[in-house]
Amino acid sequence: MLVGLNFTLGGTHEMVQRLVDEGHLDYCELLIDNFLQVPPDDLARHFKCPIGFHVMFSKYLESDLDFLQDLAKRLRVLIDALRPLYVSDHMAYFTHRGRRLYHLGEIDYDADYDWVRRKVDIWQDLLGQKLFIENYPSIMDGGWEAPAFFERLTRDTGAGVLFDASNAVCAFRNCGAPLELWDNVIASTPHFHIAGYNRTIIEPHFTVDSHDGDLAQDTLAFLKRRRSLFDKPGATITYERDHNIDYDAIVADLARLRAVFSCSKEEIHAPHVAVGAC
């Protein structure tokens, strides 16, 4: 399991470089549409490690075709130049009745399936490669339908899931949908996200995907229970931290992730190494 960090924009650049230099990161995930105006060779020069691409604001479910064609054309220049480990995007509403939702909305997995599938087909085709789509941190009861939705969507479109483990934990804590519902999805994909969560400000408290603190014990326990499903050749897990940025705390969380998947590369994927290497 390769361990990476999500990099959104310049403010944490030096910290990310230090994490790479000190061996805490195997790769870096770029929120790539923040860097569309950056020359590809500049990105390649700055990141001396493998990179993944995470698209945030394509809004491919709601954007018109002209916009998506133009955006995909510019993304493909970066994809061709930088050969990312994967390209991923989101599954969410960014607007409602033409108005921007500053907290993204969850799709209706049953009612929206047909048109969402068409949009995923279009966006994946425009990008010219397999698209990995991130699951939403359900607060409401869509969390029950999400796993089957993603199984069906990946079967019908050839897309993959960027499975966010902590988003699934949020959904479990909020609506009770068992984490085991995700087993097939986890087994089917090599790319994962993980982050800290927090509770809502007002009571009764629910759980929100906040990226503002350390990994929760139940999130780590989920990884440990399903380690054999998560870990596979070429697997990646990206740690996200957008607030309360603290170098030592991030290093500690990255170490916790490595501890969950320790030795797995040797045990599972490289049988030619010395027995007992771990």
């Binding site: 105006q37 950056v38 108005r99 929100v208």
Partner: protein, 194 residues
């Protein structure tokens, strides 16, 4: 529509709540102790933070929590069919000008709101444009936003007092975009998006 409460464990999907996500009027249809109520509050707080984290001086105008601004603005915004795109802060300023707070606004607040909107453009616009120039009919300064241009960089905001001022926009605000990371000849002002 089925509403939920502790005694009514009906399943509700997020989309059923969307009409309330931008409606900050006092909630009368969703039970206070329900998950739906809390979920709506999560979204309302996102607008609150977008406005007051970026423009904290507004909290001095509408102490202590700013809701005297945010709630009526959001209601007005619905009547105006605003989209809450990058021009969000400029429309808040427009609303303030015709509100009970109109005597509390000044040039500093205007420039702050222009800077906030320009920064939002720099963060969220995904067109090929590299920069944006924003002007107000009430201010001599222009605000320029630049998207991130290097891997280690970030978006930048400049406030510029031109030696040879551009003509003022006909509406309260005007903008144009820049196809490269250089100031281009003035192409005329466009009206800000709703």
């Amino acid at each position: 529509m089925h509403l939920t409460s502790p005694s009514e464990p009906a399943r509700i999907v997020d989309k059923e709540l969307f009409d309330w996500l931008t409606d900050l009027r006092p909630q009368t249809q969703i039970p206070r102790q329900s998950r739906a109520f809390v979920r709506i509050d999560v979204c309302h707080r996102a607008y609150w933070h977008a406005l007051f984290d970026i423009c904290p001086q507004l909290l001095k105008i509408a102490a202590p929590d700013g809701l005297a601004i945010l709630r009526p603005f959001m209601t007005w915004a619905e009547t105006q069919n605003l989209t809450f795109d990058w021009s969000f802060y400029l429309w808040v300023y427009e609303w303030l000008k015709q509100s009970e707070f109109q005597d509390r606004i000044d040039n500093d607040l205007l420039i702050t709101m222009m800077g906030a909107s320009a920064a939002r453009w720099g963060n969220y616009d995904r067109t090929p444009a590299c920069g944006l120039v924003l002007a107000s009919a009430e201010a001599s300064e222009i605000v320029v936003a630049w998207k991130c241009r290097t891997a280690s960089g970030r978006r930048e905001i400049e406030i510029i007092d031109l030696e040879e001022p551009l003509p003022p926009p006909e509406e309260s605000f005007g903008f144009f975009t820049l196809p490269s990371f250089e100031l281009a000849p003035f192409p005329g002002w466009r009206n800000i998006p709703r």
